[in-house]
């Protein structure tokens, strides 16, 4: 089958395993196309003709293969060969990857892969009957494949080599190549692509032995003198006989390395240049910006100077004109005066000449004396001949110092613009201090700031309101000695050598509030929660409140573990707690500025339900004693005299307790005397104030009446009671309200005797009620845990 059997093994392989060979050839030629080494591009074109050949044609070779295999026993060679071929493919893939990486052609890579996948089916189909191609392939194999193989094997580990060899073996031994094999091949191809990345890491030394083996068989060399690859035998016989030669593979590797290095360098350079370009661009922009800004600045400044000069010029002109006018006026005056004098002296001259002309001696004498007196008199008047006015403009020097200053200021730092005071940041204030922050206007040079503040008040501003000023170097300042929960206005000016900025906008800061005041009488608790109420303690409103809880251990040590509930908008909070613990609860007020100090604590024991009596609801005849939990009823007086609170009971002499609004289990006790007549139980908060407990559907109670025959006990709701006889009048009554079981139970706690249980679904929250029907005393005990034995009810 092979036309030029230079290397026998190769030929045998080809004839034995046409599928395989063609596969190898395919890969090789593809390799060549992609890697761009010397190759015939025709190879590719022809393969496509053979794609998916009919089965008949595929079946031509298998027979031959089988027989040949038997005859020669070269099977051992086959896998190796195929493995080598296979690796050609890896190499090509690797190179593609590398190129793609170098030139950023990630997308191209995909295309190449697709291309490769398409081609894989070819091996089995390629060269049936296509003698030309086969020839070509075989020919090529003699020269190129081996070179490539050596390269590859140096590059990739034998491990992979073996793996792929096996894969190939499987396919090649499959004599009936069909579409299934095509699929296999495709899959395999995909696998290879996956393994490509691994291949990169392989150490070339691993494949050393195989390389040696290959070298002995065929060696192609490179003529250094001619800088061209030649065949080995040419070194011995051809024109290259005397030339220096080296192994082609080495040369290729060197060249590749060099190219690679160059490429890396170029890449670096490109990156650097790109960075430089970006940087230059940035600078370009900023230069433009700066110039524009400076232009504006210059325009403003020089306009100022021009204006100043113009002004000065006009001023000078004006003064000059005035001087001129003054001088001329005085000169004129002088001229007029001297004219007058001239006239009078002329007159005198004329009169003297007249005199001389007169003949009469007496007349002459008389007149002469008279004239002599006049002349004398005339001479006595001082004749001002000096010119008082200097015709020269005296003040020749022009003062340009201010203009100079103005000119200087153009090149100097501009005076800063108004800074901006930041809004108050949360938690930056205490009760007596705030931390103010501001920012200078961008790019201003500032030496220091002046911070002004004054309290905000709704009153019209008066002179008396003092402003405070501080000099600060930084852009922040903590101002102390302020008043709690008060608003202050702050504004800032910036200073530098050139001048002082306008004042900033005014910003309002607030000091932290004063601590709230817990109202212990309005606080209630049960085993699982506490309701805490407090007064704001601040004149100005605050934003919210924070409650802090500390568990207190048995040794009265407050634990460090503090739980906080934040953002409480109102003056009360229902806090979930753990049962049977002691807590200290604190409240803080919060506003924009910060958090107040802790309030005084309230101590909560979660051993049981704790409530206070609501004094508002107390009937006028009912008095609550100092301890707050003992109620008494005086002898009836005239009821007319009493003033009722709008919320007080008016019919029953009763009072209501403020139970915590938690639907859990609540227990309290009432101590009484055998003969006290009472109604005790629960009622809705809005139960009729003018009603009688137990007679309506808003209250449930146990009633005790002393009849002549016995102590009568009623358990009343809606006016009806079960018929219950109790032989021992209870003195300590336990009342257990259980929302979960919808039950209200009464017990004689001295005996732990269960007396009665109401079963009812309390739609709303109920509160304890205590009423006396006759003078007597009831003592309420709460904050005690539910006795364990009551848990059955």
């Amino acid at each position: 089958m092979s036309s030029s059997p230079t290397a026998t093994t190769e030929t045998e392989t080809t004839s034995n395993n046409p599928d395989k060979v063609s596969a190898g050839d395919l890969d090789q030629s593809k390799d060549e196309t992609t890697s761009g080494l010397d190759e015939d591009p025709e190879g590719l074109k022809f393969y496509h003709m053979d794609l998916y050949e009919s089965k008949e044609r595929l079946d031509i070779f298998p027979d031959v293969q089988v027989t040949e295999k038997k005859g020669h026993g070269v099977t051992a060679e086959v896998p190796e060969q195929s493995g080598e071929k296979d690796q050609l493919e890896y190499s090509s893939q690797k190179e593609i990857d590398e190129l793609a990486r170098l030139y950023g052609l990630e997308e191209d890579k995909e295309i190449v892969e697709d291309f490769r996948v398409e081609q894989t089916p070819l091996p089995g189909v390629s060269d049936k009957g296509e003698t030309f191609i086969q020839k070509y392939n075989v020919e090529h194999k003699k020269i190129k494949p081996q070179q490539s193989v050596e390269n590859r094997e140096q590059e990739y580990g034998t491990k992979i080599f073996q793996d792929t060899m096996q894969e190939h073996d499987d396919v090649s031994s499959n004599s009936h190549f069909d579409e299934e094999a095509v699929n296999n091949a495709t899959n395999r191809e995909n696998q290879r692509i996956d393994t490509d990345s691994k291949l990169d890491k392989n150490d070339s030394t691993q494949s050393e032995p195989t390389t040696q083996h290959q070298k002995e068989e065929i060696a192609d060399i490179y003529c250094v003198t001619c800088e061209t690859p030649i065949r080995a035998f040419e070194k011995l016989f051809g024109i290259h006989k005397e030339h220096e030669v080296t192994e082609l593979s080495n040369v290729i590797q060197d060249v590749k390395e060099e190219i690679h290095n160059n490429m890396c360098k170029l890449e670096e350079q490109i990156a650097q240049l790109e960075n430089l370009a970006i940087h230059l661009e940035e600078i370009f922009i900023s230069v433009e910006e700066n110039v524009v800004r400076q232009e504006q600045n210059f325009e403003i400044r020089y306009n100022e100077v021009m204006q100043a000069l113009t002004q000065r010029y006009e001023e000078k002109l004006q003064t000059l004109g005035e001087e001129k006018r003054e001088k001329l006026e005085s000169l004129y005056d002088q001229l007029v005066a001297s004219g007058k004098k001239l006239d009078s002296s002329r007159e005198l001259m004329e009169s003297i000449q007249e005199l001389l002309k007169s003949k009469e001696k007496v007349e002459f004498i008389k007149t002469a004396v008279n004239t002599a007196d006049r002349v004398e008199e005339f001479f006595k008047t001082d004749t001002e001949l000096e010119i008082s006015i200097n015709p020269e403009y005296e003040n020749k020097t022009i003062d340009f110092s201010d203009v100079q200053q103005l000119m200087d200021s153009i090149s100097a730092v501009p005076a800063p613009s108004a800074p901006i005071v930041n809004p108050q940041s949360p938690n930056s204030a205490t009760g007596t201090s705030v931390r103010v922050c501001w920012s200078p206007f961008s790019e201003d040079t500032v030496e220091c700031y002046q911070l002004y503040y004054k309290p905000v008040s709704d009153d019209p501003p008066t002179e008396q309101q003092t402003e405070f000023m501080m000099k600060v170097k930084e852009t922040y300042c903590t101002v102390y000695n302020l008043i709690l929960n008060t608003q202050y206005e702050f504004w800032v000016t910036a200073l530098n050598t050139t001048g002082i900025s306008p004042a900033s906008e005014r910003a309002v800061y607030v000091t932290a509030p004063s601590p709230p005041i817990i109202k212990p009488k309005d606080c209630r608790s049960c085993e699982t929660a506490a309701l805490v109420r407090w007064e704001s303690g601040n004149m100005n409103p605050v934003d919210s409140y924070t409650v802090e809880l500390c568990k207190v251990s048995t040794e009265d040590h407050e634990s460090d573990i503090t739980e906080s509930i934040v953002g409480i908008p109102t003056c009360e909070s229902l806090i979930q707690l753990d049962p049977r613990e002691k807590y200290h609860i604190y409240v803080r007020a919060v506003n924009v500025g910060g958090v107040s100090e802790r309030s005084k604590p309230i101590t909560i024991h979660t051993t049981g339900t704790f409530f206070h009596l609501n004094e508002e609801t107390a009937h006028p005849l009912l008095s609550i004693l100092e301890d707050g939990f003992t109620i008494a009823c005086q002898e009836e007086e005239s009821l007319l005299d009493f003033s009722y609170h709008y919320n007080s009971f008016t019919r029953c002499i009763a009072v209501m307790g403020n139970l915590i609004p938690v639907k859990g289990k609540h227990y309290w006790e009432v101590d009484t005397d055998e003969n006290v007549e009472y109604r005790i139980g629960v009622a809705f908060e809005d139960t009729n104030r003018n009603g009688v407990f137990g007679t309506n559907n808003t209250s449930w109670c146990m009633r005790h009446i002393v009849t002549p025959s016995r102590h009568k006990y009623e358990f009343l709701h809606c006016g009806s009671t079960p018929d219950v006889w109790i032989t021992i009048p209870p003195r300590k009554i336990g009342i257990l309200l259980d929302y979960e079981k919808w039950k209200l139970s009464f017990f004689n706690m001295d005996l732990l005797q269960h007396l009665y249980t109401f079963s009812c679904h309390f739609q709303h929250l109920v509160h304890p009620i205590f009423a006396l029907e006759k003078p007597g005393v009831l003592r309420i005990r709460n904050g005690v845990g539910v006795p364990k034995c009551l848990s059955f009810f």
């Binding site: 079960p722 006889w725 109790i726 032989t727 005996l751 269960h754 009665y756 364990k788 059955f792 009810f793």
Partner: protein, 310 residues
Amino acid sequence: MIFSFLFKKSAASYLEVELRSKGTRFAEMALKQVSSNKCFEGFQKVFEHDSTELKCRMRFGIYLPPKADTRKCPVLYWLSGLTCTEQNFITKAGHQQAAAEHGLIVVAPDTSPRGCNIEGEDESWDFGTGASFYVNATEESWKTNYRMYSYITEELPQLVNSNFPADPERMSIFGHSMGGHGALICALKNPGKYKSVSAFAPICNPTQCPWGRKAFSGYLGLDQTKWEPYDATLLAKSYSGSQLDILIDQGKDDQFLAAGQLLPDNFIAACTERKIPVVFRLQQGYDHSYFFISTFINDHIKHHAKYLNA
């Protein structure tokens, strides 16, 4: 899981061993299981045994709560009323759920010896079979077999304590009608023996009512002083012992209340006088039946559980 399994196993083997040892030592105390039904995760069983006190074969119902698998439980004894057997209570009262919840063993014995071939024992429903009145008879023909008081207070607890995971220190008693009378006298005659007592429509003052007078004269003879130790009201008047919390439910429409057979007022008056704590609830519209009992059985189980599980 494993622990509870082991416990079950050990409880079972304990029971077995106990049964065997008792069987060898007291052959007459051997228990025979008559029936067993799972009920609220526990078991409602009926056993049969030869009674030494009564000299006859006796049956009793016992409810074993699920808790009894792992630990000893308190025992609550139920005494039924006239004409009843051990079956009435266990089938009609519906006590098992509450008993399971509170972990109580509930033992319901028969109301009298049976099949003793005593002349006249089956002549009337309110005397003889099914009407022992829980006394130890002294009259000749009855005194051999009709020792129900001793059976209830001695033999039966011993039997239960030794054969079941029962805590001998914690027991209570309750009953209905004649059984209510039995429960009250057992508690009042043995201060401290029972942690608590309760009753449904008990015959409170048998020496003053027709049923009681008939029975007492039959079992105890005509000497009324011999009746006194079996009358709850009279016992209450002289009671001085550990505190007892008594719960009594009485249907207001009970025909026997109207007939003056029960007389609770006398008992209450006595207790008020002697400061014995009683809560007596006159329940509107209820009669003497097991419908009445099943309505309030949970309250009674709770009442006992409070003391038994304290």
